[in-house]
Amino acid sequence: MFPVIKGAAYILAHTPDMVLHNGTTQTTERTVNPDSDYLKQVPKNLRSLEQFVSYPPNQTYIGNLSPDELAEIEMPWYDKSVEGGAAIGEMGEIFAQDEFIGWIKISDVFDLVLLEKDFTDSIRAKIEGRTGLADNFRTALSEGVSAERIEKEIADKGAEALIHDGQTVGCVKRAHDIDANLNAHVIFENLVSKASAAMALVTLIERWDIDPESIDYVIECSEEACGDMNQRGGGNFAKSIAEMAGLIHATGSDTRSFCAAPTHALINAAALAQSGIHKNVIILAGGSTAKLGMNGKDHLKKGLPILEDAVGGFAALISENDGVHPVLRTDLVGKHMVGTGSSPQAVISSLITAPLDRGDLKITDIDKYSVEMQNPDVTKPAGAGDVPMANYKMIAALGVMRKEMERGDIPGFASKHGMVGWAPTQGHIPSGVPYLGFATKDIMAGKIHRAMIVGKGSLFLGRLTNQFDGVSIVIETNPGEVEADTGVSKEEVRQMVAEAMRSFAASLTE
């Protein structure tokens, strides 16, 4: 029996101060050109929390505005707002920066994060009100320390400052005097990733009323590495995040493949659930402060505000078949292989048409393709183009080559079988998975029957290989019949009949 996807949750942490202090575009500029005009302009061009919340793509990310509704809003979107846009969404939540700093604090179990006393008191109610947090983490803010103590840690011991509204409200201390893998900067980035993943996990648990004790396994799929100088990427963010939500029956592990990792995680989770090894598997990832303001220079040049001002996160639950939720077709998985090559045609064939051929499906049999769902409002002004649109054009072109579509159908393919991008440029966060929540909802509602999730990863950025990576999987309506283990599902019967007809047709042409 194919496994199912039960639901997904999405979070954004609005982090305007971290754009200037932690985004690599800005920190690099500070190193090479400390008096630059750009650095002076950044603080004047950051969005308020209200602007951030009502920004149409952000409302889509947390489920308040469907991709179709977003497509109806004329671009650019940065100067538009959704009337009544709320921070709480049908599938997720937007967190303010001060609350996010609180989550960074409670994610730290080694007393490395210090927060100022009054600041701590100002966020305490928000953190302690999260029912999805395990009790020992919900109450882990502690009393806070003096501002002088924090300044001393930063000035004398190389601690990384935590800044909110231009004021230092805390710091992250180094975890070792010499080890570069445990310095304050690395600890900060890893805690950002852990905290934002935990926010997504807790949101998933609260939103879908999940029993934390029912979860068997967690797969974390971000782009960070945790470890010390003797095991730099030792890992298991997954278990550390599971602990925060009290998933006492779960263990976990991390999966890495740059932006392709979430789809690898989805396929791995599906395999675990289908095999019966684990009944309930959560895949999740937090985001990254390094990518904040990545395209900021281009945005300011074109008169836009800094649009990369948020850390993203997601979580999704994959379970054994319940006869209700959409099934993950583990027989329709695409993979870019070592021998596939790098031409766009070879890439798209391996990810899109190879799995379709296995299921005797045409390109047009997939109602929606979820590819790299980067928000074009961010990427177009920076010269990186409309990434989802570029992917849809290649899929459509392949459809024409395979004679499954007419050339004239190419322009309409993107709107019919694709979507406009809405996800923040947080690497792995926009890759395939932003649609999991909508796909589950739309398939359950009968709005669509079948979707394909596609993840692509830029392995060459790690300088170990020139290989690219990508995987894909089809999700579709649950036929609704849960068979006994020894039985045969309706879907399997359909496949057997299709195979028999194919061999019969082949025998006629011989």
Partner: protein, 43 residues
């Protein structure tokens, strides 16, 4: 004689467009000297 013959070439490919190895492949039949080739991710 191709436009690329005897030229020194820098290739910057795009992960979501044409990757560098695919562009290199197209230049194999010329006498172009590829001095740098890299695929970048712009998102």
């Amino acid at each position: 004689m191709s436009f690329f013959d005897d030229k020194k070439i820098i290739i910057i490919g795009d992960r979501d467009g044409i990757p560098a190895p695919a562009i290199e492949e197209c230049l194999k039949d010329t006498s172009a000297d590829i001095v740098f080739s890299s695929t970048e991710c712009f998102v």
